[in-house]
């Protein structure tokens, strides 16, 4: 059965008695089978376990920057969740680990050298504007971590822009070079201006060493997005544990490969499809962000189309806009279409389709 669990906050006045770990409402297409092990808490913890390799790479590559940034995001997210629940007079939902996961994903999606206030403001926006104003977990339309990231991205464009990643004098060697996607954009600009030849540019960004570096994560970028292998490990774990469904990541990957191939052939982008896939946050987003059960469709076809949409917008933003990466906006855009996708893809109930009237 496909998984589509979400917890609706209970408005029970005696909040002390209410256990936040039991899912009070599950949304999924038929057949409806009850499984108490699919609690919100369990799913969140599974995702956190799947993120362990990614976190390990982040700490290995970016050292203390990763620890402080992610830690701060998680702490502020937990604090905001607890404080806003109290303010709204709701039962406490800190124990369901969802705020921890939001903080973790937000932290992993921020640049390695994001100043502390970016983490704080982003976490407050993620929990406050992304979740609490809609009524808490399960009621939010947009992915909270991406709402928080969009908020700080638009607020502190200087601190989070492509140029901010690069620090020339640093003990971390990876950060002296631009992020892979900025580098590709730079070469494309240089090529257009006739400063390099196409062969040179390709050689620079498509070499075997670069490919290997992208796989293991020895490149500049946001904390969680650098290593393709670590992300794939997490993804396989989540698929095996049936926490996420395969339709969304497959949709994202398939359509982005096709779109990049098209734009690669027409000369719109220098990078090959494979390189696009493992550069930037595409893979991280496909596995950990787009699969958020609350903000993705509940039907199988809906999920696939949702994944296709994300992949398509990522490539459009990467290739045609001045932003090097477009995952955040792509996810937020497709989040808005989820109610429609759900409505358009209602599956046949068990026992055959409902006969049409008239």
């Amino acid at each position: 059965m496909s998984v589509g669990t979400s917890t609706l906050p209970s408005n029970a006045p005696d909040s002390v008695e209410h256990s936040p770990t039991v899912a009070s409402l599950q949304i999924a297409p038929s057949p409806h089978l009850s499984d108490r092990s699919l609690s919100t808490q369990r799913m969140m913890i599974e995702v956190i376990i799947a993120l362990l390799p990614v976190m390990a790479v982040a700490v290995y590559v970016f050292q203390w920057y990763a620890v402080t940034s992610i830690g701060l995001c998680i702490l502020v997210c937990l604090g905001a969740e607890a404080g806003l629940n109290r303010l709204a007079g709701k039962s406490q939902t800190v124990g369901d680990w969802s705020a921890v996961l939001t903080g973790l994903i937000l932290g992993l999606s921020l640049p390695w050298n994001a100043p502390w206030y970016v983490a704080v403001v982003g976490s407050l926006a993620a929990i406050g504007l992304g979740k609490a104003v809609f009524g808490g977990l399960g009621c939010n339309i947009f992915n909270p971590a991406m709402v928080g990231r969009a908020f700080v991205m638009l607020s502190f464009a200087r601190e989070l822009g492509a140029a901010a990643y690069v620090v020339v004098e640093s003990q971390l060697t990876v950060v002296t070079e631009a992020t892979p996607l900025s580098l590709a954009k730079q070469f494309a600009a240089d090529l257009a201006a006739g400063r390099v030849t196409a062969g040179d540019a390709r050689l620079q960004i498509e070499s075997a060493e670069r490919f290997w570096a992208l796989l293991v994560g020895q490149v500049n970028g946001s904390l969680g997005e650098t290593s393709a292998i670590a992300i794939l490990l997490g993804g396989i774990y989540l698929l095996a544990r049936r926490v996420i469904s395969w339709e969304i990541p497959l949709g994202v990957v398939l359509v982005s490969l096709v779109c990049v191939e098209l734009s690669h052939l027409t000369g719109q982008t220098l990078l090959s499809p494979m390189n696009h896939l493992i550069s930037g946050s595409l893979l991280f987003g496909a596995v950990f962000i787009a699969t958020d059960p609350v903000t993705s469709p509940v039907t199988r076809w809906g999920r696939f189309v949702y994944g296709l949409g994300i992949g398509f917008f990522v490539v459009v933003i990467r290739v045609f806009s001045s932003y090097p990466e477009g995952l955040m906006f792509a996810v937020l855009l497709m989040n808005a279409t989820v109610p429609l996708l759900n409505r358009w893809t209602i599956p046949n109930p068990l026992g055959g389709p409902v006969p049409k009237k008239g």
Binding site: F151, L154, S155, F156
Partner: protein, 205 residues
């Protein structure tokens, strides 16, 4: 009519908080979102709207006995459009920089539902004094709403208020507040706050 028409004082007070054009009636959202990035343009817009609203209210109230029911909207629109054009030309002549900054939003006062709704609800039915009080009250309410949103956006987004620096230089300004998304976020949050305060007052008494 069953209920007595509100008096001038009631009209005046209603406009400021109980029937606030922005927070209660949700009218005139276009300037509320578009020009509240800073205090100066917000208050210039509020003043231009006040001029048009008060003048239109006075004139419609004066000729209310002559209005034909099926032609009244036409008369309202003509009157409003005339005063808007006058306001727009005066801004361009005497506050050129501000008029450039406000751009199309001054001519767009014509489309502000607040003004035509006041013509319809109040000035086409009541005396000149009441219509004047209504115009002033509604204008104050509108100015208050614009100023509240602009205060949040300018302080958080630029660290200034009326162009004067109010936040220390180490404070990182939130660029999103000056951008269009900031307008929607602040409007939504302040609407929620006003609603919440109103709700608490209603339940506590």
């Amino acid at each position: 009519m069953a209920a007595a028409s509100p008096t001038a004082l009631e009209r005046f007070l209603n406009g400021i908080i109980p029937e606030n054009p922005v927070y209660r009636q949700l009218l005139g959202m276009c300037p509320v979102l578009a020009v509240t990035g800073a205090m100066k343009p917000a208050l210039t817009m509020a003043a231009a709207t006040a001029f048009v609203l008060i003048c239109a209210n006075l004139l419609i109230s004066l000729i209310r006995g002559l209005l034909k029911p099926h032609l009244r909207i036409l008369v309202f629109t003509m009157t409003i459009a005339t005063f808007v054009t006058i306001a727009d030309r005066f801004l361009a002549a005497y506050l050129y920089d501000m008029s450039k900054e406000l751009g199309p939003y001054v001519p767009l006062i014509i489309a502000n539902c607040l003004i035509i709704s006041r013509c319809e609800i109040c000035s086409s039915k009541q005396s000149v004094g009441v219509a004047f009080a209504d115009g002033v009250g509604m204008s104050l309410g509108f100015a208050l709403a614009l100023a509240s949103i602009a205060t949040v956006r300018e302080i958080l987004g630029s660290g200034t208020w009326f162009g004067l620096t109010v936040l220390p230089s180490f404070w990182p300004t939130w660029g999103i507040m000056v951008l269009p998304p900031g307008a929607f976020l602040v409007l939504g949050l302040l609407l929620g706050l006003v609603e919440w305060i109103g709700h608490r007052r209603a339940t506590s008494t």
